[in-house]
């Protein structure tokens, strides 16, 4: 017993293994995440700040940014309501085919976004099931805003429900029942007890849902008409610029999307920090 060895030695990997693993992860993060992100901004500003601003203030770019925000503004609240309702139904009630519903919620994650877009073309397109009827009534869904919103809602559907189900499961029903016995109506129970209890989980879910709604490419691409200035979202417009060899435009717009992504992540982190503090209290 001449030397005192650190107690951790028996409970952790040898130092060289730890260093190797950490280095591998850091390298991967550098090459796969940090470098591309830097490249986007570097490319965007390659021709100077003036060119950058010009590219962003381009009519098509502005239209794309507006459309993206509009779609997110419609799709995210819709999914907020759907997601809360679905999570509520699954965690608070017992009903037939509950497991099936729980599985179906994940469907949009499981199928390729392109297929998600295609199903709406198949349903509402000119040759789709409802196509002729819609055409007769002059309602445009595919290759127009409603189709793009539908595709976005579909693709981002699981975010809210998936985030809330475990939160609601761990909360149980006791607090709500306590509220009801104390004389609260269902509505009061929801606003005063259920919602405050899931607020951080919900905000987190909304942020993730929003990030995906703004960044979605595949599904939206299929149902969009790709008309610049009319129904191109930011990701679609980036592709269009890129295909036109308008690299500064493509990267400038891409940097806007990347910025939205970074802001989203910062918000997400803030919420985690905030909920972490609450959990410790």
């Amino acid at each position: 017993m001449s030397t005192v060895r650190p107690i951790t030695a028996s409970t952790t990997e040898p130092a060289w293994v730890r260093r190797l693993l950490i280095a591998a992860v850091l390298l991967l993060v550098m090459v796969m995440l940090i470098l591309p992100l830097c490249a986007v901004f570097q490319q965007a500003f390659e021709n100077g700040a003036a060119a950058y601003w010009a590219a962003i203030r381009d009519d098509d770019s502005v239209a794309a940014i507006k459309l993206t925000l509009l779609i997110a503004a419609i799709a995210v609240p819709l999914n907020l309501v759907f997601g809360v309702a679905a999570a509520w139904a699954i965690t608070k009630f017992d009903f037939p085919l509950k497991n099936l519903l729980s599985t179906l919620i994940d469907l949009p994650f499981a199928v390729s976004p392109v297929i998600s877009g295609l199903i709406f073309v198949l349903l509402f397109g000119r040759r789709g099931y409802f196509g002729p009827w819609l055409e007769n009534h002059n309602i445009a869904i595919v290759f127009a805003l409603p189709g793009m919103v539908l595709a976005t809602v579909f693709v981002t559907f699981p975010f809210v429900a998936r985030e809330l189900i475990p939160v609601m499961q761990s909360l149980g029903r006791d607090e709500e029942q306590a509220a009801i016995v104390l004389g609260a109506t269902g509505w009061q129970t929801f606003w005063r007890i259920s919602l405050p209890n899931i607020r951080w989980g919900l905000l987190y879910a909304v942020i993730l849902c929003n990030a995906r709604a703004m960044g979605e490419f595949g599904a939206v691409s299929v149902v969009s008409g790709h008309v610049a200035g009319l129904n191109n979202t930011i990701p679609l417009q980036v592709e269009l610029f890129y295909d036109d060899y308008n690299f500064s435009g493509a990267f400038a717009l891409a940097s806007v999307l990347a910025m939205l992504g970074v802001v989203t992540l910062i918000l997400k982190k803030l919420i985690e920090w905030r909920t972490g503090i609450r959990a410790d209290a």
Partner: protein
């Protein structure tokens, strides 16, 4: 407020949780629903509260049929097993909740609500903790917040689900006495669920012993302890010795004991089981002419006011446990290995085909 439960049945899937339950709780009574886990006691409490709907039967509160009344309209106070405090609200707001959600016409002013909540916190001895969050309280404090919250809406009926289940032994005994006082001071009708016989016997005016979705016996603590109506109640309340034997010609023969059979078994020919409480066994050095068993002392536990003696029946080799006073123990000068004679001062015989498993 009296509560009358008639012919209540409830099943969950294939599991029969309650089977034709009839129970009347008088106004001002403190009643314990006692039984092992899964006996249906919590389900019955939740049906009275309106948190669960019965498949059959009715619940009448103060002469009014409440069977189809929503939980929020019944005006009962309910204390949940794990308190179910609102974790995002302060202690004060937890207590104030029941008043805040009242319709505007019945809602007191903010100042009145606050005064009332503080008053209740004083009643449950939690003054000064009103700004804390529930997570900053100990188990016993949370329990008292849950009680104050339930009392805020001035319920006539207070229902408590395992109110002391999650607390330390010390806190539990204190809160038990305190709850009894509170119940008497506020003139409520209270029903609480417990699996702890000591708690039920000490706290309640009447004890309802339940098993497998049915009521085994209703009575005062003394009645259910001294005159158990069924083998189950014998087993569940306190320790008991079991002697196997037969009933024949109006006599019960149990080991070397021969006694008159109970009235309900006089015309029966069957196997029988005799129940004797440890303190109902007398130990003597000589056969005294009465019905006795011969036994050997196998262990003596001589700590405390009562001496517990383990014996082995000489004929059946089964264990018998007896309790005697310290003075009687010293008089007998028992040592392990002694041959002694055991006389039951009270024995209760049941037909053995009854199911008395717990």
């Amino acid at each position: 407020m009296s509560i009358e439960v008639s012919h209540i049945s409830k099943s969950f899937g294939g599991f029969q949780a309650l089977n034709d339950i009839n129970l009347k709780v008088e106004s001002g009574e403190l009643v314990a629903l006692l039984g092992p886990s899964g006996c249906g006691k919590t389900t019955l409490l939740r049906i009275i509260a309106g948190l669960e709907a019965a498949d059959e039967g009715s619940v009448v509160v103060e002469g009014k049929d409440a069977t189809n009344q929503a939980a929020r309209e019944r005006g009962v106070g309910f204390v949940f097993q794990h308190y179910a405090l609102f974790r995002h609200l302060s202690v004060l707001e937890n207590v104030a909740f029941g008043l805040r959600v009242r319709p505007r016409s019945l809602r007191p002013s903010n100042a009145e609500i606050k005064t009332k909540a503080l008053e209740l916190l004083r009643l449950v001895q939690l003054e000064g903790l009103e700004k804390r969050s529930p997570s900053e309280l100990s188990g016993g404090q949370r329990q008292r917040v849950a009680l104050a919250r339930a009392l805020a809406v001035e319920p006539n009926v207070l229902l408590l689900d395992e109110p002391f289940g999650a607390l330390d032994a010390q806190v539990r005994i204190e809160l038990r006495r305190w709850l009894r006082r509170l119940h008497d001071d506020l003139h409520m009708t209270s029903v609480f669920v417990t699996h702890d016989q000591e708690e039920a016997l000490e706290l309640a005016d009447r004890v309802v012993v339940m098993n497998k979705g049915q009521i085994e016996q209703i009575g005062t603590p003394q009645e259910v302890y001294e005159r158990p109506a069924s083998p189950f109640v014998y087993h569940f309340l306190g320790s008991v010795n079991l002697f196997h034997g037969r009933v024949h010609n109006g006599r019960a023969t149990i080991g070397s004991l021969d006694i008159a059979a109970p009235d309900d078994l006089i015309n029966t020919e069957s196997k029988a089981v005799g129940f004797v409480r440890p303190h109902e066994l007398e130990i003597s050095r000589s056969p005294n002419g009465k019905a006795t068993l011969q036994a050997r002392v196998s262990h003596i536990h001589a700590v405390g006011a009562t001496i517990r003696v383990e014996l082995v029946d000489a004929s059946t080799r089964e264990f018998i446990s007896a309790e005697l006073t310290r003075s009687r123990y010293q008089e007998l000068a028992l040592v392990v290995g002694d041959q002694v004679y055991v006389t039951p001062s009270n024995i209760r015989v049941f037909a053995a085909d009854l199911d008395f498993s717990i």
